[in-house]
């Protein structure tokens, strides 16, 4: 049993069938998350990050559907489970945190009601026990005077406090994996770091792995063990944070790195990648990134690169195949190239 990673995604494909043809929103991605590991998933809007999260937890909005590949949790397939069985995985074994704490909580129910109903949906406890547990959790996520605030409604909390409540909700049935989908985007900059730290600490305390979806490379660099860079429904590059951030190999990753505003930036301006991600119904042949890539060559337009091992990372780029050791393009160079 222990040889299985906690979560294993293999060749996952998500389709949106339409009358004019099937859109491939996610086109064959594979990655693992180990126990206790924090995996960052990064990419532009529309790259398929959130869909990946939704697909794993089985909450794709119709008509979106998983059209291929498999998702395994501790070696057991969960992508083809019946709705009822899947429900017991959601919340119980995989917790989820959404972007906006303001809208994630039902405004018409007290937070106590919402936590208690979640606990009771998954654990065989009495309502009293569930309440005690709720108080404990709220305490743990740093809500002051937790027992008195059970009866409070979401609108009576600040944004940061609400996200703490959401974290407590995601963790209240002791899940093994937490998928956090841009958990801080909607928050005030001043509390973003606090929430990320809280998330990291509390997941470690509860022994939960995290899949942290974000578009913020800075957060990834500070928080994650490994990172997956997604582009147009595929993984461009995946590997340990240290490698990917310090020595990105995929031209897209390089571009992204350039987009991180750092406090100690020596550059005068941020690196930008020209152009924008292709629409799902107009993905170019070959490498999807080729129209924007500064290093594009003929092969990129004809053949699609599959991820290949480069050091401890995997990179889907023909450049990487041609010379695994050569192309450690540094930031300065990328800057000039663009």
């Amino acid at each position: 049993m222990s040889e299985h990673p906690l979560l294993s995604v293999r060749d996952l494909k998500v389709d949106f069938p339409t009358r004019r043809g099937t859109l491939k929103a996610i086109d064959g991605i594979s990655f693992d998350i180990a126990r206790g590991e924090i995996l960052g998933v990064v990419g532009e809007s529309g790259a398929g990050k959130s869909l990946t999260g939704s697909a794993i937890i089985g909450l794709l909005e119709p008509p979106g559907r998983i059209s291929g590949g498999e998702v395994r949790l501790k070696g057991d397939r969960i992508d083809n489970l019946p709705a009822k069985a899947m429900r017991h995985i959601r919340g119980k074994r995989i917790g989820m945190i959404f972007q906006d704490p303001l809208t994630s909580l039902n405004p018409l129910f007290t937070i106590g009601e919402q936590i208690v109903e979640t606990i009771m949906a998954h654990l065989p406890v009495s309502e009293r026990e569930a309440r005690e547990r709720a108080v404990h959790l709220l305490d743990e996520v740093g809500i002051p005077a937790a027992s008195q605030r059970l009866g409070a409604y979401p609108h009576q909390f600040s944004g940061g406090m609400r996200q703490r409540v959401v974290i407590a909700l995601a963790l209240c049935a002791e899940p093994e994996l937490v998928i956090a989908d841009e958990p801080t985007t909607a928050l005030d900059v001043s509390v973003q770091a606090q929430i990320i730290r809280l998330l990291k600490r509390i997941c470690r305390d509860h022994g939960a792995s995290v899949m942290l979806i974000t578009h913020d490379m800075g957060v990834i660099a500070e928080t994650c063990d490994r990172v997956a860079v997604m582009y147009s429904g595929r993984i461009a590059e995946i590997g340990p944070v240290a490698d990917v951030v310090r020595a990105p190999r995929h031209p897209y990753t390089i571009g992204l790195m350039g987009a991180i505003p750092t406090l100690d930036a020596t550059e005068d301006r941020l690196t930008q990648i020209p152009g924008s991600m292709p629409r799902l119904d107009a993905i170019p042949s070959g490498c999807a990134f080729n129209p924007r890539c500064a290093h594009v060559f003929a092969r990129c337009r004809q053949e699609r690169p599959e991820p290949i091992d480069v050091g401890s990372s995997k990179v889907a780029c023909w450049l990487a195949e041609e010379d695994g050791s050569r192309t450690i393009v540094d930031k300065k160079k990328a800057d000039q190239l663009s």
Binding site: L23, A25, G48, P63, G64, H215, A259
Partner: protein, 314 residues
């Protein structure tokens, strides 16, 4: 950075939008909508060109003959080729009466909606722009107005009109009485929508800027607000047209609408209702079906418009 900062749901919503427009144009949907549009156009054309296309003039008393009364539709036994859908108790051609009746029904409907839209948009703009007491006052009236459905208002006004004008004079003004009373109950929706939009616009910079330059901001706002509310207003107008037609028909059915000598669809149904049980079903059924079809078609168009423009209607 700007691109990167777009919300998390952008990807899904982009797909959703694509799919939505897909549903919009999906085969079945458009077929129904096209049929509805065609039907509506047909009614409009029939109503506008009634004097040309109708085989008879049902309002011309000298042209109708009691001897032709209650003839069944042309294809039935005893039918007369001159009267496709049969004749009513006075010998009027039901088909022609439907064309002329739709003319009245549509005219009342259109005029009511136009009046209601004008009043509603003006009041909505005023309320939203002026704010404060005036806003509160107008919106309070709107709220009270909402309680009294078109039917009730129309009945009250009609009753008052009978008291003031007497019965015969009332008939002369009945068209305007109907238009007035129906529009009185329809303006609220327009006003609310426009007010909401105006409130949003009022806070914008160009309004402040206009004030600085010395242009009356109200005028500028009208120019900015109107395009914004055009979509929702069109949807409201379409749905209200259906409502106005139903209201007119109901009033005429209750006997307080247009007089039987110049029947609208509702009047025709009222007349035909007396013959429904006696086997002369065509006098009520054809106008009834015409009314239902017309309203259905307009409603379908309204539904489609709403989905297409997807404005927040509330």
């Amino acid at each position: 950075m700007t691109e990167m900062a777009s919300p998390r749901t952008a990807a899904t919503s982009r797909i959703a939008r694509l799919l939505d427009s897909d549903i919009l144009h999906s085969f079945l949907r458009s077929k129904v909508t096209i049929a509805a549009a065609f039907l509506t156009l047909l009614f409009f054309a029939g109503a506008i060109f009634a004097p040309i296309v109708a085989p008879h003039d049902p309002f011309d008393l000298a042209g109708i003959s009691i001897l032709d009364a209650r003839l069944p539709p042309a294809w039935m036994e005893g039918g007369d080729a001159r009267f496709l859908l049969g004749t009513d108790d006075q010998g009027r051609d039901v088909f022609s009466a439907i064309l002329y009746g739709s003319r009245i029904s549509l005219a009342v409907g259109f005029m009511s909606v136009i009046l209601a839209a004008t009043v509603g948009i003006l009041l909505g703009l005023t309320a939203g722009y002026m704010g404060g007491r005036i806003d509160a006052f107008i919106m309070r009236i709107a709220e009270v107005q909402l309680t009294f459905p078109a039917i009730l208002i129309a009945l009250l006004i009609d009753g008052a009109a009978r008291g003031i004008f007497g019965n015969l004079d009332r008939e002369k003004y009945v068209f305007w009485i109907l238009v007035f009373s129906i529009s009185l109950s329809l303006w609220v929706q327009f006003a609310r929508t426009v007010r909401g939009s105006t409130l949003v616009e009022r806070g914008k910079e160009y309004v402040q800027a206009a004030r600085l330059i010395g242009i009356p901001p109200f005028l500028i706002m009208i120019r900015h607000v109107l395009p914004n509310v055009l979509g929702p207003a069109l949807v409201i107008a379409t749905i209200n047209l259906a409502l106005a037609i139903i209201t007119e028909a109901t009033l005429s059915f209750l006997g307080v609408g247009v007089p039987p000598t110049q029947p609208s669809l509702g009047t025709l149904i009222r007349i035909g209702n007396d013959f429904l049980f006696s086997g002369e079903w065509w006098i009520a059924i054809f106008p009834g079906a015409a009314l239902a079809l017309l309203v259905l078609a307009v409603n379908l168009l309204g539904d489609w418009l709403r989905d297409a423009l997807n404005p927040k209607l509330r």
